[in-house]
Each structure stands twice: as structure tokens, then as C-alpha cells.
């Protein structure tokens, strides 16, 4: 880890594309070491929220704070160097590079020079995902969907991030592999990494979280402990109905 776990906070964030806001005044915070899961219907702005958090999208107004520091003005590379790792929803690997090169790129541009070496991190990450060890020399784009998801996750974990942003990590995985992936997510979280997770498998996602947020049409409909969000039938009807 780059240091002690850092928290993440959004204050009145308005963001969108081409001057059109998609997110309307979003505020929430994730305490250091906590897991926050965002659920909501398709097109509600979950991925847009993630891109704003990691710095691929500049908010039109509002502030993003990471570990107590205002990072709103920083681009994605600078936020990554502060210990924020991200796995996008789509194309989350370098398809024309080998698995090993993917892990290398995940490590070398953000890992602190005083921290663990590449080979130490490689062993640690392969310990979490033993299935990809035999695939290290394969072109990443030729792997199966499930294997790619593992490579994406492994690459993001290479620099030992303090905050991890995951956009639909279980997409395309079999129920069994989705379960296994969330087991790994649980283990990573247990080591003190702060997590922001978008997940369409609400039972799995909310089951692994401390806090939950329901995002509908770019508004936070509800922010509550994950347990409450998961079990409340009214809430389930609300967002599953795609209001």
C-alpha cells in the first residue's frame, strides 16, 4: 500500500459530456477502508460517476477529494500516482499486450520507488489470481471474458493502491466466477483498501459492501448502509423499476 488507507469524497459534483450534465450535484463520502457500492438502472450515470472520480472526466462544478486532499484539478495520471486505481467497465485491459506486460504497465508508472518491487507485487497478485499465472505470455485480447476481468483486476492491484474504483467487476462472469471474484475483492478490502464499486448484481455487490448508494437519472436517490439498501423492498422496486 502507498500509505494508510485514504478516504474518498465528492461534494456537489456536476459532470457530463459536451456541456450536458449527466450527474446532478452528487455528494457522498467513503471512509478510509470502507466499501461503498453504487447501484442503479442502466444509463443512470454510474460509469460517468466513476470517470469523474478517477479524473478521466472533469466535473463542471463541485470537488473531488482523495485522502483529504482536493484532487479536482488533477488529471487521471496524477490521481493514479496518489494511490487511486480504477478498472473501467469496458476495455479494461491492453488487448495487444501480453498479460505480463499488462501487469507491468499497471505497476511501473505509479508504484512508489521505495515500495515493494515488481516481482514482489507480481507474486502477491498471482497469489490472488492463480489462474492467470499460466497465461502470462498470452496476448491479453485473446483471453476469455472471465480471464480478462481477472487480468484487469490484477493489473489495477499491482501498484498496491489505497483506493480502488471498480466498474461492474462481475460483468460477463459466470455466477461461480463472480462469486470467486467477490471473494478476492473481500480479501483485498480486508487488507484495508478503500473501495468504490459499481455493480449490477445487487445482491453480490451490496452483500460485500458497508454503504450503498442508489443512483437514478444522475441523482442520488438513497444513501444508506448496504444492508438497508439490500433488504428494503420499496428501494428495490424503486430502482429496479428504472424510475
Amino acid at each position: 500500500m502507498n500509505g494508510p488507507a485514504a478516504g474518498l469524497e465528492l461534494r456537489d459534483v456536476v459532470a457530463g459530456y459536451g456541456g450536458q450534465p449527466i450527474l446532478h450535484s452528487i455528494s457522498f463520502s467513503v471512509q478510509p477502508g470502507e466499501r461503498l457500492v453504487v447501484v442503479g438502472p442502466n444509463g443512470s450515470g454510474k460509469s460517468t460517476l466513476m470517470k469523474t472520480v478517477v479524473g478521466l472526466l472533469r466535473p463542471m462544478s463541485g470537488a473531488v477529494r482523495l485522502g483529504g486532499a482536493d484532487v479536482t484539478a488533477l488529471g487521471a495520471p496524477a490521481r493514479a500516482a496518489l494511490g487511486l486505481a480504477y478498472i473501467p467497465q469496458e476495455t479494461n485491459i491492453f488487448r495487444n499486450m501480453t498479460v505480463l506486460e499488462n501487469l507491468h504497465v499497471g505497476y511501473e508508472f505509479v508504484a512508489p520507488s521505495k515500495g515493494p518491487t515488481f516481482s514482489e507485487r507480481l507474486e502477491a497478485v498471482l497469489g490472488l489470481f492463480p489462474e492467470i499465472r499460466v497465461k502470462l505470455r498470452s496476448t491479453a485480447g485473446h483471453l476469455s471474458g472471465g480471464q480478462r476481468q481477472m487480468v484487469a483486476m490484477a493489473a489495477a492491484l499491482m501498484p498496491k493502491p489505497t483506493v480502488l474504483a471498480l466498474d461492474e467487476p462481475s460483468a460477463g462472469l459466470s455466477p461461480r466466477n463472480a462469486g470467486l471474484l467477490f471473494e478476492v475483492i473481500g480479501r483485498v478490502a480486508a487488507s484495508g483498501v478503500t473501495m468504490l464499486i459499481v455493480e449490477q448484481n445487487t445482491q453480490l455487490g451490496l452483500g460485500a459492501a458497508d454503504q450503498g448508494i442508489v443512483l437514478v437519472n444522475g441523482h442520488v436517490r438513497l444513501a444508506a448502509p448496504a444492508m438497508t439498501v439490500r433488504t428494503d423492498p420499496e428501494i428495490r422496486r424503486l430502482y429496479l423499476g428504472g424510475v
Binding site: 479524473g55 488529471g75 495520471p77 490521481r79 488487448r95 499486450m97 508508472f109
Partner: protein, 286 residues
Amino acid sequence: MGQLLVNGIVAGLLLALPALALSLTFSVLRFANYAIGSYLTCGAYLVYIGNVVLGMPLWLAAGAGAILFAVLAVAIDWLAYRPLRDRSGVTLLVASMGVAIALENVIRFFAGNSPRAYDVAVARPIRLGDVRLNHEQLTILMVVIVALAVVWIVFRFTRLGRMMRAVADNPDLAAVRGITRSRVVACVWLISGILVALSGVLVGLDANIEPQMGWTYLLPVFTATILGGIANPMAAVAGALTLGIAEEFATLVMPVHYRMIVTFLVMVALLLLRPWGLFGTRWVTK
């Protein structure tokens, strides 16, 4: 037959460096730099200044000129292309046409229209059996092969190579993995600037140095690059060799000065049948 093959390989290698440069900038910047012909001419003239005006030996003038031109390529990017970075590839293509015309006129203004030649000793061709290889061809062979090997090693095995390939593959993911795009863009212009300037010298050795020299190469370079699959730099080299050899063998069935038609036909056939290139399928985009 052997002679044709050798000539074809040399012609192909002559195309390989600018084709590699074109494809390298395309893979990272997503626009086809139409000014590449003028870049080639400009590099050739810069080296001419070192070699003939300042009296440096050609290898020294070529090294200095290539580095100077690489810096110039970065400067052109800052002035002309960077402000348009978020526009479409077509806008940038048009901008690069403007750059091409501007560069060429600057060259004409200072150097005039008459052809010039580098100051090199004339040497007797080398004979290997019934195949003749003159010194210019030997120089082309060696310089291009060394340059290609260096670029390949940088691409495969270095941090800089991984940076460039990562941005070419997935710019957003590269950014969140800590790679600053503007730095990669500058490196790409430096490398392709060096490659194009060197190829300008080689073309100048093979023929003459004159303001039109880059134009003559524009169509074959684009054809070779598309033949390889435009976003895949190393395949552009294969495309260049294929085209060079095809042009040379075409002289068996048609007059020498019609060989440009071969390039045209290859280009048209490619655009109709395989716009992603002969070797382009290895680039995974699914």
C-alpha cells in the same frame, strides 16, 4: 531475378522508415500525417546544410540533422496539431496538408528548385555473383535494418515502448495507469522525426535532393502503411517490403517509369478489399 529482388528489397527498405513513422504517429494520435512527405524533404535539406554548407561528414550531418528535425517535428506538433487534438482525424489530416504546403514553400524559398546532391565519395558497386549492389544501396540496407532493430527493441523491451503501445492500445486506460499522454506524444514525434529525416537522407543518396522529393514518396508510403495495417507500426515495415518488391517485379511486364501505377493499383485494391491492411488483423480490437 536476383537483381530485381535486391533492388526491390532496397526500394522497400527505403519506404520502411517513413511508413513506420507514419504508422507510429497514427497509432498514438489517430490521424494520418499527410505532411510526412514534406518532413522527409525537410530532413534531407537540414542534413544537406550540415554536409555541404558546413562541411561535416555525412554520418555526422545525418545524426545532427535527424535530431534537429525531430525537435522541429515536436515544435510543429505544438503549433499546428496540439490545438486541434480533440478534433476528428479529418480535421487533423487537413491541418497536416497545410503544414505540408507551408514546409515545402519554406524549403523552396531558401533552397530554390534546383536538385542538389550530398558530398560523398563515389565508389564502385559491389558484385556478389551476378547481383550488383552499389554503395548507396548498401548504406540504405544497413541504416534501415539498424534503425528498425532499434525501434523494435525500444517497442518490445523498454518502459518507453510499453508507454507508447499502451496509449496506442487504450488511451483512457493508459491515463489511469499513470501515463501522461502529452509526454508519449512528444516521444512519438521525436522518434518518427528521426526516422523520417534519416529516410530523407537515404532518398537523397539514392536520387537527388529537391523540393519535390517527399511528394514522390507520399503515395507509396501511405500505400505501404495501409498495406501493413495503419495502426500497427511493425506491420508497416512488412507492407513497405511487399510494395518495394512488387514494384520492382512489375518492371518485368511494364516500362520502368510506369511503376507508380503498381502502387496506385495496390492502393485501390487495398481500399476496396482490405482497408484494415494485409497484416492488420493481428491488431485485436474486439
